[in-house]
Structures are given as structure tokens and as C-alpha cells.
């Protein structure tokens, strides 16, 4: 079965493209023949029931699946037209350009300041102390955390609340100035107020980066994204503008899922 792509999807600049991508864990096929264009300056949401492969697919976009020994990727994924799975591709560079925020906030057990400065330091983006200060402040401001933590930058990142920790992780990701930010259910461990703050933040960041967000919450996908892809059983069933997917799904399975018939 092929993916249904809505015909009215206007031609935007694709930041990342996947062509016929399949992912295997050992012999098990987790992702089956997915092709998608991720537009820049938009938020793309991946929705679908648990175990449908949306997180797996997300992790192929910055090669985090490399850390799982049995995982194997077939097909082609490009970033600005360059195949990210080619042998010359430097994974370190790729991950600097395609950042990631995880399901559970995972700040390092270091100070808030060091958490944000970590990426710029390892990539050699900053030299002097004042440059680092500047990057830290800019990133925390963009992540909407600066006002809350500016007086306690030396406190441990793990001492913050869950929502603040997640915004710290976002600040950490944007500190290396990525082009794409992948978010794997970034609000699933947070309460509604913290969730609202993150959603607001995603909205602000979308003008600057290509953002891909995996979410369980259809309301969240409807609120924050402009593009939505529906995954089911390792296949991408339908892809289109968020408004179209939610108001006028072309596939019966998509309709069943968004109306809450299963999932």
C-alpha cells in the first residue's frame, strides 16, 4: 500500500527528504517504505498509535538508530540534498545540524550553564568565555527559560522542574544552531501547563528551524503543526497539511484514528 499524499500540498523547500526508507531491527521490519519531504520553517507532526514506528523513523533522521547494534536502514535520506547515510557522512556533523529533544527530559547532571554550553564547546563553535556566555544567554532566551534561571545558572540542571528541564534540553539543542530539530514526544512527561509552554515555544521556533515532532496527542499535532503524517504498523498511511488531515482525511484508517476509534 502506498502513502496517500494530499494533492494540494504546495511545493515548499524540502529540508530533509526520505525515499523508500525501511528500518529493520534484526529481521523485524519496523519501518516499511516511507517517503516524505520535511519542509523547512514548518512544524511536521508524526502521529499514530503506539508501536507504529514514528519514533523509529524520527531517529533515522539524525542516525540515532546507529547506537542500536541490530538496527539497519535501507533507502535514502537526504539533508539539503546530501545523503546522510553515505559513508563519508560525519555523524557528528549531522547531529550538530539535526538536533534532538527526547521524550523524558534528560539534562546532564551538570550546571544549567554547562548543559547549554556543552554542544558549542564540543563543536568548537565558541572560544572565549564571553562568547560562551552569549550563546548560553541567547539559547536560554529562545527556549523561554532565561528569565527563570538567569540568577542560578550554576545550579544543577537536574534540580529544575520537569517542564524547565525540557526547555533546558531544547535550549541545549538550539545552542549548536541546528537546522532541524527532532522532538520525540517532548511533552509526554509534562503537566498541561508545562506542555502549553513547550507548545508555545515550538510555535516560536518554527519560523527559524525545520521541526519534526512525534506526538501521541492529536490535539497537540493540530495545535502546533502545519504538516501531519499518520503512521500505522510501520507504514506512513497519509501525509498532508494538518488542517486537511484533521478535517478531510482521505484514508479510512486515518479517519478512524483521529476520531478516536482506535489508537
Amino acid at each position: 500500500m502506498v502513502t496517500v499524499v494530499h494533492p494540494n500540498l504546495e511545493d515548499t523547500n524540502a529540508k530533509m527528504s526520505a525515499r523508500d526508507v525501511s528500518v529493520f531491527y534484526g529481521d523485524k521490519k519496523a519501518i516499511d517504505d516511507v517517503s516524505i519531504d520535511i519542509p523547512t520553517k514548518y512544524v511536521t507532526a508524526f502521529i499514530g498509535p503506539s508501536g507504529c514506528g514514528k519514533s523509529t523513523f524520527l531517529r533515522t533522521l539524525n542516525r540515532m538508530n546507529d547506537t542500536i547494534p541490530s538496527a539497519r536502514v535501507e533507502g535514502e535520506i537526504t539533508l539539503d540534498g546530501e545523503d546522510i547515510y553515505r559513508s563519508k557522512m560525519d555523524v557528528v556533523q549531522l547531529r550538530a545540524r539535526v538536533g534532538m529533544v527526547f521524550q523524558k527530559p534528560n539534562p546532564f547532571p551538570k550546571s544549567i550553564y554547562d548543559n547549554v554550553a556543552y554542544g558549542p564547546k564540543i563543536h568548537g563553535l565558541v572560544g572565549s568565555k564571553s562568547e560562551i556566555d552569549e550563546v548560553v544567554e541567547k539559547s536560554l532566551r529562545r527556549a523561554g527559560l532565561w528569565m527563570e534561571v538567569k540568577d542560578r545558572l550554576e545550579d544543577s540542571g537536574t534540580a529544575l522542574s520537569g517542564g524547565q528541564q525540557q526547555r533546558l534540553c531544547i535550549a541545549r539543542a538550539i545552542a549548536v544552531d541546528p537546522e532541524v530539530i527532532l522532538m520525540d514526544e517532548p511533552c509526554s512527561a509534562l503537566d498541561p501547563i508545562a506542555t502549553a509552554k513547550i507548545e508555545e515555544l515550538i510555535d516560536e521556533l518554527s519560523g527559524r528551524y525545520a521541526i519534526v515532532i512525534v506526538t501521541h496527542s492529536m490535539q497537540q499535532a493540530a495545535r502546533v503543526s502545519q504538516r501531519t503524517a499518520f503512521f500505522h504498523l510501520g507504514k506512513m498511511v497519509e501525509y498532508g497539511r494538518t488542517s486537511d488531515i484533521f478535517t478531510n482525511p482521505l484514508e479510512k484508517r486515518t479517519q478512524d484514528y483521529i476520531t478516536g476509534r482506535y489508537g
Binding site: 539524525n62 540515532m64 547506537t67 547494534p69 555523524v91 557528528v92 556533523q93 549531522l94 547531529r95 550538530a96 538536533g99 534532538m100 527526547f102 523524558k104 534528560n106 539534562p107 546532564f108 547532571p109 551538570k110 556543552y118 554542544g119 564540543i122 563543536h123 537536574t158 534540553c169 541545549r172 539543542a173 549548536v176
Partner: protein, 461 residues
């Protein structure tokens, strides 16, 4: 012999009670309306069995202490005992010979005077054996009957059995604690005696060590009891040289095993490393004394150092370091593996390489655990005896030269206790003072290590 019979008797009675109680509980269960009683039949069975076995065991324990005294009293009261010598060694010897013959562990008496006592002994032994068996049976029946009558359909046997099990577990854990306390008390007692003869200031701050076990015990020469060279040797070998070997090697092997090694390799290397921890220390001692120490001396000669000793701190320290590697590496391994995968993913997703992730995220996060492992390793190293006895030498040198012989606290404890001094000579008693200091230091290190580990555990909850 007699307590063994009583033990078997106790267990047999317990089994009987167990079976009877279980059968009775089954009848409750069959007769009850819904097939339910307050506890499973097996708990009723254990309840009765415990009530039989525990009192009987207490009685057997008590009886095995008092029965021999009752026996010898009754023998001494017999007319045959009237011509025994009144006191002393000979009297005891005659009595014990007669007892051996009576109980069957000896064939015939050596001393004719014991012959007359064999018969009274035999009579007394069989009488008290009979009393013991009867008393056991009576206690078992009384306690068992009492417990058996208590079991009813609504009797909460399970909670009671669980309470009893908990008490047994508590007693088991108290044994270790009480033993530790006993050790401390005996050390303190002897240490105080030692400090009554030699001033603690001389002992703790003196720099000359050379107790003479043949000197007059009543006027010890305090200046010969300065333990600083021993403390220095202990720290230099155990905490400096050994750790210079063990910390980097242990840490690096832990990092390799947790982060780089593929699972098959890890499956082989980790147990191989743990074999090191199972090698008896005396074997390490051979290795240090016969292989490493001469090799070090020869190497020193080769580079022109002619005064190298054939027993050296370096040899003992190096081998001890190798011995300690598994301690450091397994603690480091555990604490690195305990750092959540999310930390590792977070760092890799930032574009950090594996080695950056290890150096900047994993090791700092695991540091408390690693430090605790090192402290446990140090306390193990400074308490280590065999290697230093065999390879470090006996000379109490206060020097920083690792090629010279040194001695340690543990070595001197062995030397003083196995020396020719009498047990109340200050040279012998100094072993207890040294042991006490060593005990306090290792106790302190373990305590700090446990505190550090505890704080580390809380960091991720």
C-alpha cells in the same frame, strides 16, 4: 553425641507436628462453607512446627551446657570420688580420663585411679541422657499441643509465621553486627593495656619502630614504638603505588567493557577479570616475592641504581595494584552502567563522539560511584597482608624511595603476634594497637564510601 540425638529428635517431632497441623487445617478447609480459611494449611503446619522446634532447640542448647556439669557433680558425690586428689591438674586428668572411657571415646585408662570412676560416670551419663530425652519430649509435646490447639479456621497463622521468620532473619543479621562489636571490644581492651605501658604520643608520632620482645616488659622503651614508618609504609604501598596501578587500569577497563566492547567480548573479559579477584592473596605474594621483586631489582641495577633492595615497596605495591583492579573496575563498571541511557543518548544527539560522551558526561555522572569503589579498594589494600609479608620486607624504613624495603601495619601485626614475646609483653600488645588503628581507618573509609554511594543513588531518583 547426646545433643545430636536430641537435635534429630527435635526435627522429627517438628515434622510430626507439621504433618498433623497441616492435616487438621485441611479438614477446616474442607468443612468451611466457601473453602477458605484465614491462612493456607501450610502456614498452620509451619506455625506448629516452629512452636515445637524452637523451644526444643533452646532447651537442647541449654542442656548441652548444664548436663556435663550435672554429670560431674553426681560423679563427685559418689563414694568412688572420695580418694581423688583435692585440687589441681591430676584431679582434672583423672576425671577426664574416666569420662572418656565412660562415653566410649577412649578404650582404657592410663591412670589406675580413674578406673573406679568409670562406672559412676557411665551411670550418670545414661541417667542424664534419659532425662534429656524425656525433657525434650515433654517440652515438644507441651509446646506442640498448645500450638496445635490454637489453630482454628480463623486463626491468622500466616502473619505469625511471617513474624517468626522475620525474627530469625533479624537474629541472623545481628550475628555479624555482634561479631564486629566483639572484635572492637577485644581490640579496645588490649589497646588500652598497651597504651598503659607505652604512651599513645610515642606510638602515634614516633618515627622509630623496633620493639624488642626480649626486653623487660615492665619498662618498655617508648622510643622504639613509633608507628609512623608503618603507617607511611602502609599508605605508600596500599594507597599510593597500588592505586597508581589500579585506578587507571580499572577505570579504563570498565570504560572499555561498558562502552566499546561488543557483548560477546564482554561476556569473556568480565569473568576473566573477576578471576583476578578470586586468586588467593598468598599466590599474589609468591608472584610478588619470586618474580616481580627480583625483576625490579635487576631492572634497577641495569639502569645503574645499585642499592635497590630485593624486597621492595614497589614490588608489593605493583602486585597489590593488580590484585585491586577487579574491585575498581567492577564498581566503576556498575556505576557507569547505572548512568541512564538517556544521558548517553542526549550527548550523542548533540553530536558528541563516544569518547566525548564518556569523558564529559558518563564519567562525571558516575564519579561518586567510582570514588566509592576506589575507597573500598584502598581499604582493602591497606588491610592486605600476605603480599606485603612476602614481598615488602620487614625493615621499618621511613623513606620515599619505592625501591627500598618497607613494612606495613599488617606485616608488623603478624610479626608481633607470632614473635617470641609473651602475651602480656608490650611488643605483642602493640599488635592490637596497630590493628585498632587499621580497623578505624578502614572503617572510616568504608563509611565514607557508603555515604558517597548513597548520595549518588539519590541523584537520579
Amino acid at each position: 553425641m547426646s545433643p545430636a540425638i536430641l537435635l534429630v529428635l527435635a526435627l522429627g517431632l517438628g515434622l510430626a507436628g507439621w504433618l498433623a497441623a497441616r492435616a487438621r487445617a485441611w479438614t477446616f478447609r474442607r468443612d468451611s462453607a466457601n473453602g477458605r480459611i484465614a491462612a493456607l494449611p501450610v502456614y498452620h503446619a509451619w506455625y506448629v512446627a516452629l512452636w515445637i522446634v524452637v523451644p526444643v532447640l533452646l532447651f537442647v542448647g541449654l542442656w548441652s551446657v548444664i548436663a556435663p556439669q550435672l554429670i560431674s557433680q553426681s560423679v563427685l558425690a559418689s563414694p568412688a570420688a572420695s580418694d581423688l586428689p583435692a585440687f589441681g591438674f591430676q584431679r582434672d586428668a583423672i576425671l577426664s580420663e574416666a569420662r572418656s572411657v565412660a562415653s566410649g571415646s577412649a578404650k582404657a585408662v592410663f591412670n589406675e585411679a580413674a578406673n573406679g570412676l568409670v562406672e559412676p560416670y557411665r551411670a550418670a551419663i545414661s541417667r542424664y541422657n534419659l532425662i534429656g530425652v524425656l525433657a525434650t519430649l515433654i517440652i515438644a509435646f507441651l509446646a506442640g499441643a498448645w500450638a496445635f490447639l490454637r489453630i482454628k479456621p480463623d486463626f491468622t497463622a500466616r502473619t505469625r509465621v511471617e513474624k517468626a521468620v522475620m525474627t530469625i532473619l533479624l537474629l541472623a543479621s545481628l550475628v555479624a553486627i555482634l561479631t564486629t562489636l566483639g572484635i572492637v571490644v577485644s581490640l579496645v581492651f588490649e589497646t588500652i593495656r598497651f597504651f598503659g605501658m607505652v604512651s599513645p604520643l610515642d606510638f602515634l608520632f614516633g618515627t622509630q619502630w623496633g620493639p624488642d620482645p626480649m626486653s623487660n616488659p615492665n619498662s618498655p622503651d617508648g622510643s622504639r614504638y613509633g608507628a609512623i614508618p608503618l603507617f607511611w609504609g602502609t599508605i605508600y604501598i596500599g594507597a599510593v603505588i597500588a592505586m597508581i596501578v589500579a585506578i587507571p587500569l580499572g577505570l579504563m577497563s570498565a570504560i572499555y567493557l561498558t562502552q566499546y566492547a561488543n557483548p560477546t567480548l564482554r561476556k569473556w573479559i568480565k569473568p576473566a577479570l573477576e578471576v583476578l579477584a578470586g586468586v588467593p592473596t598468598v599466590v599474589y605474594g609468591y608472584f610478588a616475592a619470586l618474580t616481580v621483586a627480583p625483576a625490579i631489582r635487576d631492572a634497577a641495577f641495569a639502569v645503574g641504581i645499585t642499592n635497590a633492595s630485593s624486597e621492595s615497596a614497589l614490588a608489593a605495591g605493583l602486585v597489590m595494584g593488580v590484585m585491586i583492579i577487579p574491585f575498581v573496575s567492577s564498581m566503576a563498571d556498575d556505576s557507569i552502567a547505572a548512568v541512564p541511557q538517556a544521558m548517553r543518548d542526549g550527548s550523542l544527539a548533540m553530536g558528541a563522539t563516544t569518547s566525548e560522551t564518556i569523558r564529559k558526561v558518563l564519567v562525571p555522572a558516575a564519579l561518586p560511584g567510582i570514588v566509592a569503589g576506589v575507597m573500598l579498594a584502598v581499604s582493602r589494600a591497606i588491610g592486605e597482608t600476605m603480599i606485603v609479608v612476602m614481598a615488602a620486607g620487614a625493615a621499618a624504613n621511613l623513606t620515599g624511595n619505592p625501591l627500598e624495603a618497607m613494612t606495613t601495619v599488617t606485616f608488623q601485626i603478624v610479626a608481633m603476634l607470632t614473635g617470641e614475646g609473651s602475651f602480656d609483653h608490650p611488643a605483642t600488645l602493640s599488635a592490637f594497637a596497630l590493628g585498632f588503628v587499621l580497623f578505624m581507618v578502614t572503617l572510616g573509609l568504608n563509611f565514607i564510601a557508603l555515604r558517597v554511594v548513597k548520595r549518588f543513588r539519590e541523584a537520579y531518583e
